[in-house]
Symmetry: C2
Subunit: 169 residues, 2 copies
């Protein structure tokens, strides 16, 4: 059977935003640097970063030290904000109004209420969206301080410091 | 950007199961009849009906009056049961462990806890699954008695009576 699947761009985008949340004030990272850090295809990542920029989740600055940083405070960026940029806001369940087909169909004007099946499916998606909306990059940062291995956090900080310093030269 | 989308088979399967919930005791409908009633491609629908049968949601009987009926009471079949047959039970968010890539990666053995981002994404999916699990075909039937136009309910009942009677001849 089929399998509903989110784009891997969602994983990349959340990781990028979460990493940018740890940038020192006033600093940025280029899309190329982010692609290097996460070892993901640069062109594909840039497309997602640009979309996050258009949505105001990221801010891009130009010039020799230009790059990406968060467009809002981590506590003001939810997982839903990021998922909607990458996946769009359309529901996963699409109602094709099969009520209006076959031998029991009536005139389209008689379907004043949304199909109960679609309503129930969309209500369940609302529960998913509400949970994503309730989790922010600030929450993810707090989880990361427990769940990311200490050595990885040290290596990430070193890489970030080195990358920022290299652009100053 | 991409867009996560459920198979249209989910819509068909829920409508079929919901319709079968209104069958008189001891009666069945063939896959061909269900495809006619919903005006959907027969071969594709049969594939879904067979999968629902293997999962015990439908029961198929053989013989000249054989066909499909519900395998359990409507109150014991949830939307999640049906969605999982068509879409499978895998989460929509797939974690590719990007923590383990790039310059900050540490040895795989150090990742004892699930990535916080994946954990948050899966927790949101659990909210969706819980909502689907809490809605049964009995609930859908109660909604239908309000939301389906009266004339459609009459036409559906007539079609069902006619189809059942035709198999007796």
């Amino acid at each position: 059977m089929s399998a509903m699947r989110m784009s891997e761009g969602v994983e990349w985008a959340i990781h990028c935003c979460s990493f940018l949340a740890s940038l020192p004030e006033g600093e940025t990272l280029t899309g190329a640097s982010l692609a290097e850090f996460f070892d993901v295809p640069r062109a594909y990542l840039l497309k997602h970063l640009q979309a996050l920029g258009r949505a105001g989740i990221l801010e891009s600055t130009s010039g020799p030290r230009g790059g990406y940083r968060l467009g809002r405070r981590p506590a003001d960026i939810s997982l839903l904000d990021i998922v909607e940029v990458i996946e769009g806001g359309q529901p996963a369940f699409r109602c094709s109004e099969i009520r209006g087909r076959g031998p029991s169909a009536v005139d389209a004007s008689e379907y004043s209420l949304v199909c109960g099946i679609a309503a129930a499916m969309w209500q369940a998606e609302e529960a998913w969206r509400a949970a994503l909306a309730a989790t922010t990059l600030a929450d993810i940062g707090r989880m990361g301080s427990r769940e990311v291995p200490r050595r990885q956090r040290e290596l990430a900080r070193e890489w970030m410091e080195h990358t920022i310093a290299a652009r100053r030269r």
